[in-house]
Symmetry: C2
Subunit: 570 residues, 2 copies
């Protein structure tokens, strides 16, 4: 295996240098791109992130895994050794567009075969833009088993951000279950359906606090669950790179008594706005600026709370905002702020509307689109199983990855009928439980004209429960999209597009569709490859809430053999 990977690597490096050369022409300075090599080993190990001991997937012993720190234009090489016993894996580099390397997107069933136990798989790709990105397993429900982490791409030396700060810190948010991902998956795929319920705790930088009480496998004095302490120097300004990779939960995040100025979202500069609570959905990243301008004689709470769903028994996640030189573990003298009311939708809608591109960094969207696809988000049944669907089709991931099937013309590998571009707009009542709850399933995909401009309308609706509509954060692989608008109720295909923001829309890769609302996106199908677009709630994707786009497959280069382990040939 080693030889072809090395050859591919050489070709990639040449392409990278060429590509960078083209890219940096716009920038005033140019520091040479580097190759950053990581050697990672995946294992199952016992860890106690919230004091409860549980088998988790670690990278080099940790969960979350190591942060990838790079400069724009660098090439990242991750040699990933799968030392799980019987379980395969694949890692997605979330927010990295994988231009010219669509085979290293890490999406099992879409861009690669799974990586077998004992195998070492080499991911190699260029981080072509500065910003805050993520990585996580994209196979089964391994993300919530602990396989996740951050990618931080800085500007080359000599180039400044359009805002000032003294230091930067990363904040990774996660919700945490005590049941294994296996047990959760078994419940989701059972008749009767067995919901995993709300998480047991929320983690900030991999640390949370479950009230152990009488549980044998729980120990509140385990150092692994000591709350994270964010130490700041009074008077200094901090850039916090805040990310969420929750399995389920929409979150708010706040720093007691401090304002946060949002300046980056999913790698794009934001027209600054101030929040006390930052709402963040699974798969999103933000940078906020915080000045340590409060009474320096004490510490403050950093808290995260569940919103959009009733948190029931899930306690808030707590960390300590530590003003130096106070002791980093000294509890603040106050009780933690309660966080926003979980079922108030307007504050969250308002934040969504506030996120626009920063002046001077606006990439204007094409004025018109070539195709509009409306995705009705519904909860359904199929053969008695509870499923999620778009346009009444529940997605079924095939076992031969689309990228391979399409390049090699393996037509039997997936359903050749594309799923529909819309639903019964006129008659479907999005505010009510559907009279016919049944969906179909398909592995069919959307084939997009290369370089065409595509509008996506995410249309939310009522679930199978009366008066219930959930928030779904949708994530697009291989692209950023412009966020053209949000609205309440049913999207009006004639009138709502008139109000699209074509002036300063933010570009993102993950965006929520709010309860009973719609979200409008636009993107250019200009990245040859096959790309998943799905709800980032891990159980929702597991239950079929996703689609796949193909574009420019004929422009995709020679696939590396390392991705093809599951495709048998005589």
């Amino acid at each position: 295996m080693a030889v072809p990977v090395k050859l591919t690597g050489m070709v990639l490096n040449l392409l990278t240098i060429l590509f960078l050369f083209v890219c940096v022409m716009n920038f005033p300075a140019f520091s040479e791109a580097r190759v950053r090599r990581y050697k990672w080993e995946l294992k199952y190990e016992y860890r106690s992130p919230d004091c409860f001991s549980k088998l988790v997937i670690t990278i080099n012993g940790g969960t979350p895994g190591p942060t990838i720190v790079a400069e724009q234009g660098d090439t990242i090489v991750v040699e990933l050794k799968n030392s799980l016993w019987t379980e395969n894996t694949a890692i997605h580099w979330h927010g990295i567009r994988q231009i010219e390397t669509p085979w290293f997107d890490g999406t099992e069933g879409v861009t690669q075969c799974p990586i077998l136990p004992g195998e070492t798989f080499v991911y190699q790709f260029v981080v072509d833009r500065p910003g805050t990105y993520l990585y996580h397993a994209h196979y089964g429900m391994q993300r919530e088993a602990g396989l996740y982490g951050s990618i931080r791409v800085s500007l080359p030396a000599g180039i400044s951000e359009p805002f000032e700060y003294d230091y930067e810190r990363s904040i990774m948010l996660m919700d945490w279950y005590h049941k294994s991902a296996y047990e959760q998956a078994a419940g989701l795929a059972s008749i009767p359906f067995k919901w995993v319920d709300e998480p047991q705790s929320l983690l900030i930088n991999g640390r949370g606090r479950f009230s152990c009480s009488s549980l044998a496998s729980c120990n509140e004095s385990n150092p692994q669950c000591t709350p994270y302490s964010l130490t700041v120097i009074p008077g200094k300004t901090y850039r916090l790179r805040i990310s969420s990779l929750t399995a389920l939960s929409a979150l708010s995040f706040q720093l007691e008594g401090h304002n946060m100025t949002v300046v980056e979202a999913d790698g794009h500069y934001v027209k600054p706005f101030v929040v006390q609570n930052l709402f963040i959905y699974s798969g999103e990243t933000y940078s906020v600026l915080v000045k340590a301008d409060q009474d320096p004689s004490r510490n403050y709470w950093a808290t995260t709370n569940i919103v959009s769903r009733n948190p029931k028994t899930t306690p808030p996640g707590l960390a300590i905002l530590n003003y130096y030189p106070n002791h980093p573990r000294r509890s603040p003298p106050t009780i933690p702020p309660p966080g926003p009311v979980w079922d108030h939708v307007s504050p969250r809608e308002n934040q969504s509307l506030a996120i626009k591109a920063r002046q001077g960094f606006i990439t204007p969207p094409p004025k018109i689109s070539d195709r509009m696809i409306v995705f009705l988000n519904t909860q359904n049944r199929f053969n008695g199983f509870v499923r999620w669907s778009v346009n009444n089709v529940s997605f079924n991931l095939p076992h031969t990855p689309y990228l391979i099937a399409l390049k090699q013309n393996l037509l039997h590998a997936f359903d050749q009928t594309p799923p529909p571009d819309g639903y019964d707009f006129k008659n479907y009542n999005i505010f009510d439980v559907a009279p016919n709850k049944n969906a179909t399933t398909s592995s069919g995909i959307y084939r997009l004209d290369f370089n065409s401009t595509v509008d996506i309308i995410l249309q939310n609706a009522n679930t199978m429960n009366v008066n219930n509509s959930e928030t779904h954060p949708w994530h697009l692989h291989g692209h950023d999209f412009w966020v053209l608008g949000y609205g309440r109720g049913k999207f009006d295909i004639y009138n709502d597009p008139k109000n699209f923001n074509l002036v300063d829309p933010i570009m993102k890769n993950t965006v929520p569709v709010h309860p009973y609302g719609w979200t409008a996106l636009r993107f250019r199908a200009n990245n040859p490859g096959v790309w998943a677009f799905h709800c980032h709630i891990e159980s929702h994707f597991f239950m079929g809430m996703g689609v796949v786009f193909e574009e420019g497959i004929e422009k995709v280069g020679k696939l590396p053999s390392s991705i093809m382990g599951c495709v048998h040939r005589p």
Copy 2:
């Protein structure tokens, strides 16, 4: 994939018919061989075999899986669909020699690549001899996750067994853990070592009884844990095919108030002898004859007890021997018999010595052997991990299966240095903890001259604990061996062979080596292929207690492509 398998299937069928034709020449009658097709699907599902609800691997919904029932000479075709989410699998057909189909032995890392989720793998092999056989996962610790079952091969119509009975029934024995195989494996591969401890219950035909008391996920009225009831008609004689696939435990089995006459072991006829307790080790099968000759007005207990290890909190496994027409669930009026004392070794040694081939069915062993290999069984440390070793080498399974590596000359795939044929006979004290506990690890194998006769001496020793030596049941793939003798203490290479039983030794595929004792085996290396030989305690093999033999690799036919999924090529 379908096409090459079908082609292979056709070739196999032709070979099968040819082979059968040669075989049946010795038999007085010949009923036509049939192809028996099975479609199996593996899933993770919640089951409560001992009243405690746990995620298990099911075949078509059950654990144990369906019994394969065939006649001698039949071809078995199992289309195995792996519907586990992220986990591979492989199934070994235990006791089936796979003559001319060494690639379908189902031993991951030895004879095939693992079967990926979503894949359908077709096993196809001939059951060439009557007898009681087994199947089970041979990958990670999936056997104890519930993936196991029986194979029952009867004589062709018109041919009789050399003993008489009215009916036959199968009894499958298993020990059962509440922790997942993942949690168990994680403990075994941890520093400090975390032993899984004794099982929570013993299952008879997949049913046991855990005292639920206050456990939430336990329900004593769940019908899945209703004790098995073996209904007999007074006066009739029953052939019980008793098998064990325990993860760990050596067992005794008894039928309260009834004698059992042992007539078959591992598919070979035994010179009949009578027992009240049948000792049975993981991987063994026996047939016993039982006459329902006791007071028919009541039911009796069928019990299984742990021997060789202190059972601590593991309760006996219970079933009901139901005399028709009493109610099958009526409890016997007696308390269950206590079973033999767990740490008395002599009764178990005596049973081993009593098992000889039946007159008229003796296959005489070659009088001399070409090679003798002594395997010292020890518990060791390697890099701080607790391991098991033979001759101080702890076995490391490679990820490219030996069969493929050897056929395709992939020399890098495993250590080319063979492990040693013996140990320091003179100086090693088998009765004491070794002064140097450290072992090495290797994936090296033993290469045997084709058609040579090989003697194996299993030499037991003290573990890393003072005054402790465990029983290890060793299982050989691809062959039966003659059991030439058992002894206490250190095998005397000069004098003990003089007492080998060359007159009427039983042939078996699994045999125990008793604490501080030795067991002598002989086999002909006449089955082209690559074959594992290992302790059948699942955790011991996981921790390195095994070896691999190669013989006649140049005579192995073209490997089917379906076994090669893990071997990447440019």
